[in-house]
């Protein structure tokens, strides 16, 4: 290496930045080169002098002044933090305890506010149900004009046939037929076939227009000479746009022979949600009750005869007592039979109607394949997520004043804490 290059490395040498080999070779050159040596010595001297030079002391009061400035800096920083948003983040970090308490507080407020609503909602629907149940019961207990003649004639028949009945208790079917033959006005399937059957059906439908549907039902009922025994409608809910959705309930009494026909008609009125029909064959009970009535009436006659023959007051009283008892029981049994007649003559169909936005009136059930089903499921999920998000957003907005208030309270608490810390 020549001097040019060596000179570039002199500083490195002075600073011991060279590897051992290079250092050795350069030192060697320097020993033999006065010019390079001179530079080397000078730089070395400079470095050593500077290095060994005692540092200037800090001016007096330096630390005091520095401390003051540091305090100022700290205060500035704190006041800045109060304004900046990072303060909020710090607030969250430092006040986890308070925040959790506040969160519990807010949650409890929300729950308390929402619980009554929930209860109200359920109780109102419960009440609606109760009402409809009551109305059903009332309708059951109503006395119906059309049914009465049947019974009265029946009663009369029973009285006439009292003795005949005694002899022919086993021939219950015949007895029913006899009764049936007297009652031509109301063709009663049950009696003609010899069976007493109470039919009733329940249909639940989704429909578009409650009033229209009720009108259709009424028209059909009148056509069949039936009647509506009970009707009730209410608003089930109101959606966000103010549209009202009602539901309604009709109880139809239709003569039993038209029962199936009417059921089919009713199912077509809207989208069938559910339906059931049952027939209750009460022939045996009916017969038994009728026999009982007959027997009681015979007993009653006998007692009356006895009464005429009675001599002592005590006897009279006993007989009277017995007669009263029998009369009571007869009334009760006759009432039951009356009721059964009503029910068997007129089948009951309960129709529940629910207003909806749109329905597809399915005539036949569509066989959905898995793909369609899964699509529908997906849409349902998306819809439920959407409605959930809507609810969350609404409640967030609704409770924003509370959140703001709590935030302010927390800030105040923090200020108080800081002041106490400084003290």
């Amino acid at each position: 290496m020549n001097c040019e290059e060596i000179k570039k490395y002199i500083s490195d040498l002075v600073d011991h930045e060279l590897d051992h080999e290079t250092e050795k070779s350069i030192l060697k050159h320097i020993e033999n080169c006065p010019e390079c040596k001179s530079i080397y010595e000078e730089e070395k001297l400079i470095k050593e002098t500077i290095y060994s030079e005692t540092l200037e002391d800090l001016p007096t009061g330096f630390n005091l002044r520095l401390h003051e400035k540091l305090e100022n800096e700290k205060n500035n920083r704190n006041s800045k933090e109060k304004k900046s948003s990072s303060k909020v983040i710090q607030l969250f970090k430092n006040n986890k305890k308070y925040l959790s308490i506040a969160a519990i507080f807010v949650l409890s407020i929300v729950l308390v506010n929402n619980l009554p609503l929930g209860l109200n909602g359920s109780t109102s629907s419960d009440m609606a149900r109760e009402e409809s149940v009551e109305s059903k019961e009332i309708s059951m207990n109503e006395s119906f004009g059309n049914a009465e003649p049947t019974l009265r004639s029946f009663d009369a028949e029973m009285a006439d046939q009292a003795i005949a009945v005694e002899e022919t208790t086993e021939e219950a079917p015949a007895e029913s037929e006899m009764v049936a033959s007297d009652i031509d006005d109301d063709p009663l399937n049950e009696y003609q076939t010899g069976r007493v059957i109470i039919k009733n059906g329940n249909i639940s439908l989704d429909i578009l227009d409650l009033d229209e549907t009720i009108r259709s039902v009424s028209d059909k009922v009148n056509a069949y000479n039936g009647y509506i025994s009970n009707q009730h409608s209410s608003i089930s809910y109101v959606d966000s746009s103010g549209k009202e959705y009602r539901n309604g309930h009709i109880q139809v009494k239709i003569s039993s022979e038209h029962f199936e026909e009417f059921m089919n008609f009713a199912k077509e009125l809207g989208r069938l949600r559910s339906s059931n029909a049952n027939s209750n064959d009460i022939t045996n009970e009916y017969r038994d009750t009728v026999s009982r009535i007959e027997n009681l009436e015979i007993t009653q006659e006998r007692l009356r005869d006895l009464l005429k023959k009675s001599e002592t007051v005590e006897e009279t009283l006993q007989i009277e007592r017995e007669l009263t008892r029998i009369r009571g029981e007869l009334e009760h049994l006759k009432g039951t039979v009356k009721n059964w007649d009503r029910l068997s003559q007129y089948s009951t169909i309960n129709i529940s109607l629910n207003e909806v936005d749109a329905i597809e009136i399915k005539i036949q059930s569509i066989d959905k394949n898995i793909f369609q089903k899964s699509l529908e499921g997906l849409m349902n999920t998306i819809n439920s997520i959407r409605s959930f998000l809507e609810r969350v957003f609404i409640s967030l907005v609704a409770y924003s004043p509370l959140i703001i208030l709590l935030g302010l309270v927390l800030l105040v608490i923090r200020k108080i804490l800081k002041r106490s810390e400084k003290k």
């Binding site: 001179s38 002098t49 500077i50 290095y51 060994s52 800090l58 540091l70 920083r77």
Partner: protein, 198 residues
């Protein structure tokens, strides 16, 4: 003595407390560095008052931005970086037209006097030399000053200097080279000057 001590655990604790706002911890933390910081400032700003202001300002900055100190490097490295940058800024603000002070930070600037002609240092007395050197460094271009100060006053390795100044090692070496050359030149001129006066 080569290099400096590593970041100790004690230092880390002080740093954390200072970040939280404890001024006393911060003062302890900078205690062993503040004298050097002041002397660096003196080399840049000459005037003791200015130097004090610059030093204190660098320390305040250190306190302010302590959060952003990457604990993987040495604290002194980070601190001196702030000190040197602050001093350079202050110098820029106070720039007066002085022949000797050049704010040329271009490392490719070629010295007007690039020739190798030199004269050996005539003054062998170290005390005298020391004073002169002090003045000489003051006069040194800002560009070279930082490297020289760190290298000769603290005996930092080139690697450490490159970390503090955030420049490549090659630049460090060239700055030291040229810095020392300039110093020699200044000293020689001063020698001549004093000699002339005498």
């Amino acid at each position: 003595m080569k290099g400096v001590k590593d970041v100790s655990e004690n230092e880390l604790k002080l740093i954390d407390d200072a970040i939280d706002g404890d001024i006393n911890s911060f003062e302890k933390l900078i205690k062993k560095h503040q004298k050097f910081a002041y002397n660096v400032a003196l080399k840049y700003l000459k005037d003791p008052t200015d130097a004090e202001d610059a030093t204190q300002e660098s320390l305040i900055k250190a306190f302010r931005y302590l959060k952003s100190f990457n604990k993987n490097s040495k604290f002194s490295t980070w601190l001196y970086r702030i000190v040197i940058n602050t001093c350079k800024d202050e110098l820029r603000k106070n720039q007066k037209d002085q022949n000797n002070l050049s704010l040329n930070n271009d490392d490719n600037y070629v010295d007007a006097i690039e020739d190798e002609s030199y004269e050996p240092l005539k003054n062998a007395e170290n005390e005298e030399l020391g004073k002169n050197l002090h003045k000489a460094i003051e006069q040194l271009e800002v560009t070279y000053k930082d490297a020289i100060v760190l290298c000769d006053m603290k005996d930092y390795t080139y690697q450490e200097i490159s970390e503090i100044l955030e420049i490549p090692i090659g630049t460090v070496r060239s700055r030291i080279n040229r810095g020392r050359k300039k110093l020699r030149k200044i000293i020689n001129e001063m020698e001549l000057f004093t000699q002339m006066n005498v």
